[in-house]
C-alpha cells in the first residue's frame, strides 16, 4: 500500500560555514533549554519512538555555530551534556534559530529528561528551561530510546553499573516482547 510519507531520517539543519577544526575549548559552559520542535513532535506522535529517527529528532543538541567551532564539532558529531541532575550523550547540530551563543537547545524526550531539573519550586511544573550545563566533545554513541531507558532507569535489568548497561546488546528499533499474536495480526 502506498502511504503518504511523513518519515524523515534526520531533522534538516544548515551547513556550517567553517570546516571544523580542533576547537579551542574542551568544555563549554552553557544555558540549556528544552522544548519541542516540529521534527520531534511529528516523530513522537506518529509513534516512531524506538526508531533511529526519534533518536535524531529528540536526542540532538542544537548549538550556535560559534560554540560548535569552539568545541571543534561538526553536524551530527556527538557531545556529552552534563548538568547537576545528570548527563547524556546527544548529537550536535547547527541551530536553525541561531544566533544564540552560550545557549543550547535539546528537544524534549528521554534524552533531555536525564539532564533537566525536577525542581518545581512548589509550582507543579519542573524547570525544563534555563538549566546550567556543560557541553564537551565525546566518542560515546547516542543510545536508541529503548537502550537509553534501560541505561537510565534499569527497571528490568539486574545490572547496576552504568557503563555495563550502556554497552549491553541493543534492544533495537522494534518492540521487544514475548508472543506471536501481534505479528499474525499485522
Amino acid at each position: 500500500m502506498h502511504y503518504a510519507n511523513t518519515y524523515l531520517d534526520k531533522p534538516v539543519v544548515g551547513d556550517l560555514e567553517e570546516a571544523a577544526t580542533e576547537g579551542t575549548e574542551k568544555v563549554l559552559h552553557c544555558m540549556l533549554n528544552t522544548g519541542s520542535d516540529i521534527y520531534q513532535g511529528a516523530c513522537k506522535k506518529r509513534g516512531s519512538t524506538l526508531k533511529e529517527e526519534y533518536k535524531n529528532a529528540s536526542g540532538t543538541c542544537y548549538m550556535d555555530p560559534r560554540d560548535m567551532a569552539a568545541l571543534g564539532v561538526k553536524n551530527w558529531d556527538t557531545v556529552l551534556v552534563k548538568t547537576d541532575y545528570g548527563e547524556v550523550v546527544v548529537n550536535a547540530a547547527k541551530s536553525r534559530d541561531a544566533p544564540h551563543k552560550g545557549t543550547v537547545f535539546i528537544c524534549k524526550g528521554p534524552w533531555a529528561n536525564t539532564v533537566v531539573s525536577h525542581e518545581t519550586y512548589c509550582c507543579s511544573d519542573p524547570t525544563y528551561k534555563g538549566v546550567k550545563c556543560t557541553v564537551e566533545k565525546t566518542d560515546r554513541k547516542v543510545l536508541l530510546m529503548a537502550d537509553l531507558m534501560r541505561w537510565v532507569y534499569k527497571k528490568y535489568v539486574d545490572e547496576t553499573d552504568d557503563d555495563v548497561v550502556e554497552n549491553m546488546e541493543s534492544l533495537g528499533e522494534l518492540p521487544v516482547y514475548k508472543g506471536r499474536k501481534w505479528e499474525d495480526l499485522k
Binding site: 502506498h2 506522535k45 524506538l50 518545581t120 530510546m145 514475548k178
Partner: protein, 458 residues
C-alpha cells in the same frame, strides 16, 4: 526532502475529521482511506498528518503483562485487566496521570474510579500550562475564542511560543493569515509580534521580534506595565531591550483595535513560572484601559484543556485533584504528579494517553522504576519501557469518536473514520472495566470519616 507524488490510490474520502494532535483542533481534515487504513491526510500540517498516519510497527495491539523475567508477554484482556485492577485495588496512593489525548467521555469513567479508590487525578497541564492555570486563579482569565481572533484581531503577539513548530496551522487558520469579517485583507491587516529569546521560526514570520534575555520575561512585562501606567523607565535597557523600543511597542499595543496575546511554555517553564503569566494577564488588563485585548494559552495536546475544564466543572479544581481523604483537595506542590513522584509517594501509577517516560524529568521518573506502572495508550513509547501492564486503547478522532476542547475552550465532537484493530478497545471501555473490577476487589469506597467538631464533648 524529496518530492512526494500525491496519493491517488484510495477507496474513499472521509471529510471534516478533527485532528487529534495540538490544541488548534483543526476540524477540516479529509482522510483518504484504503483497506481500512488512512493512507493520506488533506489539510493537516506535518504534525497532524504524521500522527494520523501512525507508525503501525509500534502500534500497541494486544494487552501485555510483564512476566517474571522482566519481559512483556502477550495475554488476553481478562488477565491484563485483572492484573491492573489488582495493582490499583491494593495501592494506598495511586496516581492516575494523563487524560489529555483521550476523550472527555473517558475522563468521566476515570473520575468515578479515582473518587472510589481515593486517587490523585492529574494531567499534562502539570508539566506544561499548570502555572498558567494558577495564574488564571490569581489574576483572571481575559480570553476570547479563536473565531473572534480571526474576524477581529489586528495585533497578534506570540510570547514564549513557537507556533510554527508546535501549532503549525495556528497562524494560517486562526490568527495571522486568514481573512476575517473585519480583516478583509488577512495578513496585511494585522501586525504580528513575537517575543522570544530565540529567533524562532515564528519570529521569522513576524513583523517584529523582541528577543529579551533568557528569564527576562518578568522584568520586560513589568516595564510594559509601567509605561502603560504613564511612568518613565529609569533604565536605558530592560531585560536586554532598549527603553525606546519598549515605548514604541506600548504605543503600538495601545493603538491596536483588537489585540491578542498567545503565550506558550516559554513563559511557564522559566524561573518565575506562574508569576510570568500573572504579570502577562495584568498587562492585558492594563491594555484594556486603552483598547480591546485578550489572551489565550497555547495548549499543547488536543484535549489537555478538556481535562481542566471537565475537572473544574466536576470537582472545582482544574488539575492535580487528590481524592485520598474522601473529598477533593488541591494543593500546589503537593498533589501534583511531579512533586508526588519526587517525594516517592505513589505506589501505583496509571498512565493513560500520556508519556511520562518521554516528558518527565529523570528525578521524577526514577520512582516509576520502583512501582507498578499501568499504561493505556496506542503506541509503544518510552513509558512502555517502564510499564508492567500495557492496555492497548484506540485512536480518538480516527478509530473512535469523542469530545475534546480546543485551546480557547470550544468543545468539538471528533468523529470516527475507520475501524480500530480487532484486539484493541476504546479507552472509555478500558477504564470502565478497570473501575468495575476494582470495585469488586475493594468493596468499600473511599469516603471521608464523619466530621466531629469537638470529639471530647461527644
Amino acid at each position: 526532502m524529496s518530492y512526494e507524488p500525491p496519493i491517488t490510490d484510495y477507496d474513499e474520502i472521509v471529510e471534516n475529521c478533527t485532528c487529534a494532535f495540538c490544541g488548534c483542533n483543526c476540524d477540516d481534515l479529509d482522510y483518504l482511506v484504503k483497506d481500512g487504513h488512512v493512507v493520506a491526510v488533506r489539510h493537516a500540517c506535518r504534525l497532524g498528518a504524521s500522527k494520523i498516519m501512525e507508525d503501525m510497527d509500534q502500534r500497541l495491539i494486544v494487552p501485555m503483562v510483564r512476566g517474571a523475567n522482566g519481559e512483556l508477554e502477550e495475554v488476553d484482556w481478562d488477565t491484563a485487566l485483572d492484573t491492573a485492577a489488582e495493582y490499583i485495588a491494593k495501592s494506598v496512593r495511586p496516581v492516575f496521570y494523563g487524560w489529555s489525548e483521550t476523550s472527555t467521555e473517558c475522563m468521566k469513567e476515570g473520575i468515578e474510579l479515582g473518587e472510589y479508590i481515593g486517587a490523585v487525578l492529574d494531567n499534562q497541564a502539570t508539566i506544561c500550562h499548570g502555572p498558567s492555570l494558577q495564574a488564571v486563579q490569581n489574576a483572571g482569565y481575559p480570553i476570547q475564542t479563536l473565531g473572534e481572533v480571526k474576524n477581529r484581531a489586528d495585533m497578534i503577539v506570540y510570547s514564549g511560543s513557537n507556533a510554527m513548530n508546535s501549532h503549525p496551522r495556528h497562524m494560517g487558520r486562526y490568527s495571522v493569515f486568514p481573512r476575517g469579517y473585519f480583516r478583509q485583507r488577512g495578513r496585511f491587516d494585522r501586525t504580528v509580534v513575537t517575543m522570544d529569546p530565540k529567533f524562532s521560526d515564528t519570529a521569522k514570520m513576524s513583523d517584529k521580534w523582541i528577543g529579551f534575555e533568557q528569564n527576562g520575561d518578568y522584568g520586560f512585562y513589568n516595564a510594559i506595565r509601567a509605561v502603560l501606567k504613564g511612568k518613565k523607565l529609569t533604565q536605558n535597557v530592560v531585560s536586554g531591550i532598549p527603553a525606546e523600543d519598549i515605548y514604541e511597542l506600548v504605543e503600538e499595543m495601545k493603538n491596536a483595535e483588537f489585540g491578542v496575546l498567545f503565550f506558550g511554555l516559554g513563559l511557564t517553564h522559566t524561573l518565575s513560572k506562574q508569576r510570568n503569566i500573572d504579570i502577562a494577564i495584568k498587562m492585558v488588563m492594563d491594555l484594556n484601559r486603552f483598547s480591546k485585548w485578550g489572551l489565550t494559552p497555547m495548549r499543547g495536546h488536543f484535549n489537555v484543556n478538556g481535562f481542566n475544564i471537565f475537572m473544574a466543572y466536576e470537582t472545582g479544581f482544574a488539575f492535580g485533584v487528590d481524592f485520598s481523604r474522601g473529598y477533593t483537595r488541591y494543593m500546589l506542590g503537593e498533589t501534583n504528579t511531579i512533586d508526588l513522584l519526587v517525594r516517592k509517594e505513589p505506589d501505583c501509577f496509571l498512565v493513560i494517553a500520556a508519556d511520562p517516560g518521554a516528558h518527565f524529568p529523570n528525578g521524577a521518573n526514577q520512582h516509576l522504576a520502583d512501582i507498578p506502572v499501568i499504561q493505556i495508550d496506542i503506541h509503544w513509547g518510552p513509558s512502555t519501557e517502564l510499564a508492567d501492564v500495557v492496555l492497548p486503547g484506540s485512536f480518538i478522532g480516527v478509530e473512535c469518536a469523542g469530545t475534546s476542547y480546543r485551546m480557547d475552550g470550544v468543545p468539538i465532537y471528533m468523529k470516527k473514520a475507520i475501524d480500530k484493530p480487532e484486539t484493541c478497545r476504546d479507552d472509555e471501555w478500558i477504564v470502565r472495566e478497570l473501575k468495575e473490577r476494582v470495585m469488586k476487589l475493594r468493596e468499600e469506597p473511599n469516603v471521608a470519616p464523619k466530621y466531629v467538631p469537638n470529639p471530647a464533648a461527644e
